[in-house]
């Protein structure tokens, strides 16, 4: 037998599409039906709206008068209706016809729809009684409303009763209210005139608004916001046509086992299915956009007047580069749920959560003040959505554009790997999902679950920061995050997986030589960290407001020195180490070799510092501390190192020994490099002693690999 060459992927892809094209029912429902249904729906909606407007325009509104000041109400309404009938402003719209209805119980007639609005005239004291009673009936005390009530002048009040659930009642109310407001203004002007204060607003100075945005920028702002959510919606719904059939459909038909027994590699099968999902997703998107274009040409959909699209070839390339990882992410996500689902029905169950997870971040672009130059660039999908808007506005912020593409690309790569694994898993064939570790639970399962736990902690950290955040103040926020979240979460993990406490937290004695190594290494590493942070800021400058708000947040100047030391050095030194270099490292250690382990622990530690500008220095510190624990086998030197690092970074500034913008002299960097090298040489030299101590300290098997 001779190898047939690299055509397997192509064969799988071609046949996947061929089979899909022969599924006429799916094509009809997914592609043709929307093409036919959308115009019909749009026409029906427009016709319904036209009729509604016509009904409102032609309507004769019936109103009733009531209340202790009915006469007052009567005269005001008559004046209002006179304006409605004779005011030249009504030329733009025909005047509404109002008929006075007399009824002993007008409110019930409003509810029944027989009349549209009731005007209730109330004397001041009566109005106060009615309002006070209404406020008392509401749950909770509205003290602001009560105070406002007490300050009302003693004049009669008109109350309009209407129904928001009736278009006609609402239209009647809006017209009458507008005209009654005009009556009130006219009365005020006549009082002014009586006191010789007649003045027209135009005499006080002119006021004119001028829009300086170009048509291109306006269009860019509009399309930039809409484009990503729209494309995602179309890709998800279009790609789903293939994805549902691609794995869960094959499982249901029994063809998956046939396919898996062929010589095709799992990666080829996944790639071919992914290509098919992407192809169909793109086709459905193009068809729908073309459909949209036709509606626009046929005037079924109205566009803003000054629509001007201007995207240069470079911007177009950037858009493609941003959308490519997004497309892969969507197709991988769809295939992943198809792989997890045992049937079509189960796929449909998973589709909605996937849709929410992929689609909702794209709405970040709608948030006010959301700019790409923030941590949003690191959030998959959301970063791309914001980046696309900025590209459409003609702004190309390269480092952040790259970050946005990379964050979504990373998520896409992860999803593709997961999909490949889903196709390799025996669950597809044997129906069982568990393995020995799943069944046994406990420590054996922890290495596979540790990242999920830290992911959850990260989400809680993000949500709590967004909700309470800076309003908590420094002390409470450090206590909540570091002690409550990181340490509390770690204790939960220890308990849930029955971990041995000393091993999980690396609570082992450290060799004596580790301590001088820490005393040399901590300040040296800090200096290098400062250098790294400054180098990073050359590429991604820290905005002034970020620095200011961080300084305000710290607000440590208001605290006594011992509290600064406790809150900013000791507590993070102890509890962050227990969580990150303790439990996290303990969980990841069985799966990673030492160097990737230190890098992974450092990266995760950096990500937990959320702000983009703090990620690089804190990730670097995390890597260094992980190396310290790996070499000493103990958490204690890392705790001291971490506390010293924070102490040296914060206290001299707080005590005014050095200014905030103090620049380190150039010679400090080579000196620090030498210090760090010396420190790690010492640690390396003592690692054998550390190994023996771990053995003594925890017994066999207790040591870290």
């Amino acid at each position: 037998m001779v190898d047939g060459g690299g055509g397997v992927l192509g064969t799988l892809y071609r046949y996947e599409l061929r089979m899909l094209l022969r599924d006429t029912r799916t094509i009809a429902i997914a592609v043709v039906a929307p093409l036919l249904l959308f115009p019909v729906l749009i026409l029906l909606a427009r016709e319904a709206e036209r009729r509604r407007e016509a009904v409102i325009e032609r309507a004769t509104y019936r109103y009733a008068l009531t209340g202790t000041e009915e006469d007052f109400a009567y005269y005001r309404v008559q004046e209002a209706l006179a304006i409605e009938t004779f005011d030249p402003d009504t030329a733009a719209r025909p005047p509404a016809t109002f008929l006075h209805d007399r009824s002993p119980n007008p409110d019930s007639l409003v509810r029944a729809g027989a009349i549209q609005v009731v005007v209730e005239g109330l004397a001041a004291d009566e109005y106060l009684r009615v309002r006070a009673r209404e406020l008392a009936e509401r749950p909770g005390e509205d003290s602001a409303a009560l105070a406002e009530l007490a300050e009302l002048p003693e004049v009669p009040v008109l109350r309009l009763h209407y129904r928001t659930d009736s278009d006609v009642s609402r239209a009647a109310f809006e017209r009458l209210q507008e005209r009654l407001e005009q009556v009130r203004r006219q009365q005020r002007d006549s009082v002014y005139r009586a006191y010789g204060l007649a003045i027209d607003l135009s005499e006080l100075g002119g006021l004119e608004a001028r829009n300086v945005a170009t048509g291109e920028r306006e269009t860019g702002a509009l399309l930039g916001v809409l484009l990503t959510p729209l494309l995602l919606f179309l890709m998800l719904s279009g790609g789903s046509i293939v994805a549902v059939d691609a794995i869960s459909g094959e499982k249901e038909r029994g063809t998956l086992e046939t396919l898996l027994t062929t010589a095709a590699r799992r990666s080829e099968i996944v790639a071919a299915k992914q290509l098919a999902v992407v192809t169909v997703g793109i086709v459905v998107t193009v068809v729908n956009l073309a459909n949209l274009f036709v509606y626009i040409v046929l005037d079924l959909i109205e566009l803003p007047q000054e629509l001007a699209v201007s995207i240069g070839p470079l911007s177009l390339l950037v858009l493609l580069a941003l959308y490519l990882p997004l497309t892969v992410l969507v197709s991988s996500g769809l295939l992943l749920i198809s792989g997890w689902a045992k049937s079509y029905k189960e796929y449909q169950l998973y589709f909605l959560p996937l849709f929410a997870v992929v689609f909702l971040p794209s709405l970040a672009v709608l948030l006010p003040g959301m700019e790409l130059g923030s941590a949003i660039a690191l959030v998959p999908v959301a970063g791309v959505a914001v980046a696309v808007r900025e590209v459409m506005l003609g702004e190309l912020d390269w480092p952040f554009l790259a970050l946005a593409a990379l964050s979504t690309g990373g998520a896409a790569w992860g999803a593709a790997r997961l999909t490949e694994r889903a196709l390799s898993t025996e669950r597809l064939i044997s129906g069982t999902e568990l393995d020995q570790a799943d069944l046994a639970g406990g420590p054996a399962l922890f290495p596979r679950r540790v990242l999920r736990w830290f992911g959850l902690l990260w989400v809680v950290l993000l949500v709590s920061s967004a909700w309470a955040g800076e309003s908590l103040g420094l002390v409470r926020q450090v206590l909540f995050n570091v002690v409550g979240l990181f340490f509390g979460g770690s204790l939960l993990m220890v308990r849930a997986y029955r971990l041995e406490l000393r091993a999980a937290f690396a609570l082992r004695p450290a060799p004596a030589a580790a301590w001088p190594a820490v005393l040399i290494g901590a300040p040296a590493a800090l200096v290098i960290g400062v250098g790294l942070a400054e180098a990073f800021q050359r590429f991604v400058p820290v905005p002034e407001e970020v620095l200011r708000s961080f300084g305000q947040f710290l607000g440590a100047g208001e605290l006594p020195l011992w509290q600064i030391v406790l809150i900013l050095a000791v507590i993070p030194g102890v509890f962050e180490e227990l969580a990150f270099r303790g439990v996290l490292m303990h969980g990841l250690a069985p799966r990673l070799r030492p160097v990737p382990l230190a890098l992974a622990v450092g990266a995760i530690f950096g990500i937990f510092h959320v702000s983009l500008w703090r990620i690089v220095p804190t990730a670097y510190l995390g890597v260094v501390l992980a190396a310290v624990v790996l070499l000493t086998g103990s958490i204690y030197p890392a705790m001291l190192w971490h506390a010293l690092n924070n102490l040296i970074a914060i206290v001299p500034v707080e005590l005014g020994w050095v200014s905030e913008d103090y620049d380190l002299p150039m010679w400090s960097y080579p000196a620090a490099s030498a210090g760090l090298a010396l420190s790690f040489t010492l640690l390396w030299w003592t690692r054998r002693a550390a190994g023996k101590m771990q053995h003594v300290g925890t017994g066999p098997g207790g040591g870290r690999p």
Partner: protein, 247 residues
């Protein structure tokens, strides 16, 4: 020539309700070219799990297996190229025609591209598929589908063929046809691994019969050797005796 070697092969599944299930528990055997190797066992004995491990769909918990000298864990793609797998649960794509099905499986099994057409022509004629080669699989009768399925299994001309309970659900005529095909493939020098719980089939077809029960291999040998070892004539009696002794 030894084509398939299985040593201490084991597979354990883990189930929340039942705990650890040892579906296959240290099975060892060897198969030779030009012979039919029968795995005989009741439902749930571990036959399908063993064959799925050979086909690299399931990963062994312990032990090792080699197909044409290639390890099923280390070289799964090479193993699958050397193997044709047929079972009642390996269905065909309903929206492909019979001919397209054969072309598709020849290509994805990396059969030399320039020879795919000729190979498909040969199989279409051999299995009498020419009458319905352009008909979609979804419109074929079960007998026609069976023919396409067998042709699909051998389309890339693999030296080892696995037939997992191939006659389940077939009528007598189709079951006999299947047996004829299997004999013909043996005559071509293929290694056939054939699992069944039907005693008469194993008696008629297999050169070597392995009795498997509760995931463990109880006995292995030709029908004559089993008769001599147990003193029983009928395979049914031989099987029951082994199960009682082994249980």
């Amino acid at each position: 020539m030894i084509t398939v070697q299985v040593e201490g092969l084991a597979k354990t599944f883990f189930d929340e309700a039942r705990g650890a299930i040892h579906a296959v528990d240290g099975v060892s055997f060897e198969c030779r070219a030009g012979t039919i190797f029968g795995l005989l066992g009741a439902n749930g004995a571990g036959k399908t799990t063993t064959l799925r491990m050979l086909a690299t769909i399931l990963r062994p918990t312990a032990g090792r297996a080699r197909v044409m000298g290639h390890d099923v864990v280390a070289e799964p793609e090479v193993v699958r190229r050397s193997l044709g797998f047929y079972s009642a649960s390996t269905a065909l794509y309903p929206r492909l025609t019979a001919r397209e099905t054969l072309e598709f499986f020849a290509r994805v099994n990396r059969y030399p591209r320039e020879r795919v057409g000729a190979r498909v022509d040969e199989l279409v004629e051999r299995f009498g598929i020419d009458r319905f080669e352009s008909v979609r699989v979804e419109k074929l009768s079960s007998g026609m589908k069976q023919k396409v399925s067998i042709a699909r299994t051998v389309v890339h001309d693999p030296p080892v063929l696995v037939f997992d309970e191939p006659t389940v659900g077939l009528d007598v005529i189709n079951a006999l046809e299947m047996q004829d095909v299997i004999r013909a493939l043996r005559a071509e020098g293929k290694t056939i691994i054939f699992s069944t719980h039907v005693m008469s089939e194993a008696e008629k077809l297999c050169d070597t019969i392995v009795i498997i029960h509760g995931g463990r291999l109880l006995a292995s040998g030709s029908l004559e050797e089993h008769r001599r070892a147990t003193g029983k004539h009928y395979l049914e009696d031989i099987f029951v005796q082994y199960v009682r002794e082994g249980g």
